[in-house]
């Protein structure tokens, strides 16, 4: 597919599209999580976290995990991130946020994190994974996931336990977070 427009041959990018999309999503995820790790203002860190959530949701979609990608956006961006921002805004008056004291140097944590990253890279490089190099085209996963969750021979009991855990955690959180009257 080469256009003769302006006598420039535009190369056919179609076979490279997955690589380009993956590269973009990977860059968004990594840069946003670095922003979340290093932004001086914690609200900026929360925005970095949001971008990282979206980038990772895109990677899930590329991996053919459509339901997990949507759940990621709904639960993480719509739920957990909103909770975190509430937490940030309700507890804003800290020493560091008020500029009363400088945040301690992040030099050693960054060094340790970089070391850890290269350790994982070495481990990935040195591992033999039992993988399919050219997996089949992804199909819709939602029906499969739904059946697996409600099949007594598969994940019915863990699924119900997770529901009870969520209910207990949210009731407990509501109980803990209510404001005490004069003590």
């Amino acid at each position: 597919m080469s256009h003769a427009l302006l006598a420039i041959d535009i190369p056919d990018l179609t076979p490279y599209l997955p690589g380009i999309i993956f590269g973009t999503l990977a860059a968004i995820s990594i840069l946003a999580s670095i922003l979340a790790a290093t932004a001086p203002k914690i609200v900026h860190a929360a925005f970095g976290l949001m971008a990282a959530f979206f980038g990772i949701a895109g990677l899930y979609a590329m991996l053919g995990a459509d339901f997990v990608a949507l759940a990621q956006v709904v639960v993480y961006v719509g739920g957990i991130l909103v909770l975190l921002v509430f937490g940030i805004l309700l507890t804003g008056r800290t020493r560091y946020a008020l500029g009363l004291e400088r945040e301690p140097s992040a030099k050693w944590p960054i060094f340790a994190g970089g070391l850890f990253f290269f350790g994982i890279l070495l481990a990935i490089h040195g591992s033999e994974f039992n993988v399919v190099t050219d997996p089949a085209e992804p199909a819709a996963t939602t029906p499969v996931i739904g059946r697996a969750f409600l099949d007594p021979n598969q994940y019915l009991i863990p699924f119900e336990l997770a529901s009870v855990l969520l209910l207990a955690a949210l009731v407990g959180a509501a109980y803990l977070a209510r404001r005490r009257r004069s003590t």
Partner: protein, 116 residues
């Protein structure tokens, strides 16, 4: 001279992205979360780091689900982690708000009432 002559496409990432690419992204996101947990003093910022690390683990699960013989089990595990992360964030923020009410600060190096 045309674009094709410069071999522009040779500079682009390869067409098929394998498991390793996803594992490297997950490793980078996990390391960023680790740095966040270690470097920050604000309890909510530490929660942000924990969420990053959980996301990286989830990315690994889904990637192995795609390229390995897991069928759909990797995605199911990722969904369980999602539910537990939601529960954890809710409880942790309730605790943070409570501590802030009681002590007026949430920098974890200042919350040392139980220190022996």
């Amino acid at each position: 001279m045309t674009f094709a002559d410069i071999h522009l496409t040779g500079l682009l990432p390869t067409a098929t992205v394998g498991l390793t690419g996803y594992l490297v992204v997950a490793a980078a996101v996990f390391s960023a979360g680790l740095v966040t947990v270690m470097a920050r003093r604000n309890a909510v910022a530490i929660l942000i780091g924990i969420e990053l690390m959980l996301n990286a683990a989830n990315l690994n699960l889904v990637a192995f689900d795609r390229f390995g013989p897991l069928e759909v089990n990797g995605q199911l595990f990722a969904l369980f982690i999602l539910a537990i992360a939601a529960a954890e964030a809710a409880v942790a923020l309730a605790i943070v708000l409570n501590v802030f009410d009681a002590r007026d600060r949430i920098d974890v190096d200042q919350i040392d009432a139980l220190k022996g």
